[in-house]
């Protein structure tokens, strides 16, 4: 660790070290950071650029291209509602509207296109846990029972 370096930057260096020798390792590194902190701190960009011999613009370009990488933490319980066609056929748009209207403070509602649960829609993910056949009442119950401290972002 370079003296005076922030803990985030130091963590970025150790993530790089963990993937040393892997081809094209930027995505696995970003996944590690996102899984640990729940977002990718913009402060890691210069560190990753230096370590991987890329320009800052390239690293930033990758982070901003992919929906999974957030540049700030998502507050509270994260609810991802599938809005793809198969879930729409079972009322996903109404469920999405319900979520945006009624799930208030402490809940981040996001749309996602397909969770691969297309025969048991509408599908929703609450803090990374997949649920099927979700109506408004079941969504409210899932959110109410979600453990705010056990946020499972993608552990990959």
């Amino acid at each position: 660790m370079t003296s005076g370096e922030s803990p985030v930057a130091a963590r970025a260096r150790s993530a790089v070290a963990a993937h040393r020798g892997e081809r094209g390792a930027l995505l696995p590194i970003l996944h590690d950071l996102q899984a640990e902190f729940g977002y990718v701190d913009p402060a890691v960009v210069p560190v990753l650029a230096e370590e991987l011999n890329l320009s800052r613009a390239e690293v930033h370009g990758v982070i901003s291209f992919y929906h999974d990488f957030r540049e700030s933490p998502a507050p509270g319980t994260v609810v991802r509602v599938c809005r793809a066609e198969a879930c729409q056929a079972n009322g996903a748009e109404a469920l999405m509207a319900h979520a945006e209207r009624n799930l208030g403070d402490g809940v981040t509602v996001q749309q996602v296109f397909c969770l691969g649960n297309c025969a048991l829609g509408p599908a929703v993910e609450v803090n990374g846990k997949l649920a099927g056949r979700v109506d408004a009442a079941r969504l409210d119950a899932l959110v109410a029972s979600a453990d705010p401290f056990e946020r499972k972002v993608h552990t990959v």
């Binding site: 081809r23 793809a84 056929a89 649960n117 993608h154």
Partner: protein, 526 residues
Amino acid sequence: MTTQTIVYVPRDAAARSVGADEVAERIAAAGGDGVRVVRTGSRGLLWLEPMVEVATDRGRVAYGPVAAHEVDGLVAAGMLDGADTDHSLGLTEDIPFLRDQRRITFRRVGVVDPLSAADYERHGGIAGLRKALAMTPEQVVEEVTASGLRGRGGAGFPAGIKWKTVLGATADVKFVCCNADEGDSGTFADRMLMEGDPFTLIEGMAIAAHAVGATEGYVYVRSEYPDAIATLRQAIDAAYAHGWLGESVLGSDLSFDLHVRVGAGAYICGEETSMLESLEGKRGEVRSKPPIPALAGLFGRPTVVNNVLTLGSVPMILAEGAAEFSGFGVGRSRGTQVFQLGGNVARGGIVEAPFGITLGELVNGYGGGTRTGRPVRAVQVGGPLGAYLPVDRFDLPMDYEEFAAAGAMVGHGGVVVFDDTVDMAAMARFAMEFCAEESCGKCTPCRVGAVRGRETIDKIRAGIDAEANLELLEDLCELMTDGSLCAMGGLTPMPVRSAVQHFGEDFHRSPVPLPTPTFGPNGSAS
């Protein structure tokens, strides 16, 4: 020790999404030492999940759907002895939905413990790899070509021809990459194979490596599939331990290392060149072709890119011979396809059947119509870039060429069902919205065309110059079809045009007000 009753409960993500874990726990608690719970993949009868199977002298007996709070009652009623209860489905193999299928690629899914190498070999696994390693690469390529296997990821390109190109290329290193991005709505077969029988995919990739001279492989799995990722990683470790991967596979000259890489929520990364960019750690922007990936793919080296189901069909072709596989199917669509029934369907799940089965047999026969019980009005086949078809096209056989002739596509075999409450103008709008959202942004017809397309459909739905705007929409579709670099922009017109063609009345309904624009953080309207 008294013999234990074996009870099978799926660990598939779909089954877990409706409570399979809790059911497995309750059964283990209720049965105590007398039962052993084995977590399998799902049989693909998803409307019956969580489905529990009990091993008996007669074979496996099924119960479903079983809720955790019902377990104690079912156990009291004799479920663990295979007795008849109000949840009984009879012998699993006799359930018509399953009995009438022809399971080849999915033969072990729901049957075996996905992480048991012993189970895998006992059920015919690794036989294909053994056969392949006793053959020359040329012979393996010839066998795959003779089987008529075509790419299951969407485009239907003959797998053997692609492999032959890679085999013929010389390079310091060659790659086999499996496309497990499965972004199409209505498709989940890749996921279910990876979760339910991952060794089949691994074996298929090792065979491909031998056939083309590759030493390194990657499975690119979308991040929305955490269970598949975890299962595949464990299976790869087990495969190394059994000498199915790594140096001198099964004692042969083949060395093959396999890695899992995880996507990051971008539909376009299912397009093969975008996937390769992503594997290289870059933005998932589509490359222009040529060069084709078979000659200059991952890091510029010759690369096989195939879908999960394509590679998953290879072990059987080698084990049982090309003729056995090509004996199924119609025309130039050989073998079976793993169809997926989703959306508003009464019996959703996996239907593996030979090509040639009609759309109606799938939707009404296997699927049993809609879940809501209302009439079927439309089905979308082949994902978000596939056509919407009306009920009067239910005679269409599932066949690449027949579908193309009907202005539609088989794609990855997903069939999404809608009842008569669907607004097809809204679905056409969604197709444009999806393209605008997921475009990689490299070419203008797609990036700008999709946004203009969405606005134009908004105007049509609002009753503003409907006829003129329908003409404008058609012009936009033509521009996107002809001018886009890849099939994202190039095929988005397919769902849009098919909606206009088959469900034109939905574009002339009572006006829907124009959506109020919302403004993003940088002031851009979205």
